[in-house]
């Protein structure tokens, strides 16, 4: 059964159409790349799915329900912008997540933080950008959610941190959960994706199994992406 479904989804900001009549069905247990150049509608789609924006037309279903308090309890979302308050310590933010999300696994979060030697009494404001990025990801992946939306999880960190982040995603997502990763850094994520969704100018132009695509095209997903979106 599909866990995420978009039907004729349109979102306009005034005259500008960000998503145009998008239909998409994603199954549980898959890691899906939401791929497209800047401004193609990736973040808009994820924000709509999280109820942060309201669609102009169409329907969104997460586990059969429209975005609501109910769906937020099963969706773990990593926004593209840093949202952590500087004054909190790691311990504070963990307590905050525990309060908000009943599926938050404190032990798992602590193990991941321990592996990185992050001190729980450290203030978030004192951390480097890369460390904050890792903390945000740890908080997101420590939930035992049914759907994970990760908006640009690897943008803005060095290649070693990228590997760490991808490894954390692979090793922590629930096997029967859906993981949606939006990015324009295709080469870095293509080995972890089951499926690729290409967005262009607010429209889904391709939704395919990555292995089949590579086999058919005889080139990497990154190579194919560069071909499709050549300027």
């Amino acid at each position: 059964m599909s866990i995420f479904e978009l039907r004729c989804l349109t979102k306009s900001y005034g005259k500008k159409v960000a998503l145009n009549n998008v239909g998409l069905t994603l199954e549980a247990g898959r890691i899906v790349g939401l791929l497209g150049p800047n401004g193609s509608g990736k973040t808009t789609l994820i924000k709509l799915a999280n109820g942060l924006l309201r669609q102009t037309e169409g329907m969104i279903f997460i586990d059969g329900k429209e975005p609501s308090t109910e769906t937020k309890s099963i969706v773990s979302y990593l926004p593209d912008k840093d949202f952590l308050p500087d004054w909190m310590t790691v311990k504070d933010i963990i307590a905050y997540y525990v309060d908000f999300y009943s599926d938050f696994d404190t032990e798992r979060a602590k193990t991941m933080l321990g592996n990185l030697n992050i001190d729980e009494n450290m203030r978030l404001g004192k951390m480097s950008k890369g460390t904050r990025e890792k903390v945000r990801l740890i908080l997101t992946m420590a939930r035992r959610a049914k759907v994970y939306f990760l908006d640009e999880p690897i943008a803005g960190v060095d290649p070693a941190a990228r590997d760490y982040i991808l490894r954390t995603i692979i090793s922590n997502y629930e096997p029967d959960a859906l993981v949606v990763i939006s990015t324009h850094l295709i080469a870095d994520v293509e080995n972890v994706l089951d499926e690729a969704v290409f967005l262009r100018n607010g429209e889904v132009i391709l939704h395919k199994n990555v292995e089949e695509l590579v086999e058919e095209q005889g080139k990497s997903l990154d190579g194919y992406f560069r071909e499709v979106f050549a300027c």
Binding site: G29, I31, R167, I170, P175, N191, V192
Partner: protein, 122 residues
């Protein structure tokens, strides 16, 4: 540890090639237990479903087998390993000849070069 993937070839095929190599080079011994799909997926930084697909394929080839409760093991059938060894050596020799043919060498020249190499090493 050293997982490196070429572009344009499906990852599961490259995983199979790597594990076949590890079987023949003795990294994994006959009848030995293999790491879990998740462990190997993490090590290689690939999707666990992809690792699973590679394992299923190798099971079909009867190079590995699954014990329902305890995990996956390398085949105990030495003839399967020997057949794989033969198959791979043929593949490498074919590649070697293809490369040298495309550089303009004929079979005799290649054989001479191989003979010289062998003598030189003695």
């Amino acid at each position: 540890m050293d997982w490196e993937f070429k572009k344009g070839v499906p990852i599961y095929i490259q995983i199979i090639e790597k594990i076949e190599f590890d079987l023949l080079s003795g990294k994994y011994k006959v009848g030995e237990k293999l790491p879990s799909v998740r462990e190997l997926a993490m090590e290689a930084n690939v999707n666990p479903n992809t690792m699973q697909k590679a394992f299923s394929e190798m099971e079909r080839m009867e190079l590995i087998f699954t014990e329902r409760t305890s995990g996956r093991y390398v085949t105990t059938d030495q003839t399967k390993i020997d057949a794989l060894k033969k198959e791979l050596s043929k593949k490498y020799v074919d590649e070697f000849f293809d490369t040298l043919h495309s550089l303009g060498f004929d079979d005799n020249e290649i054989l001479n070069a191989v003979n010289t190499k062998c003598k030189g090493e003695e």
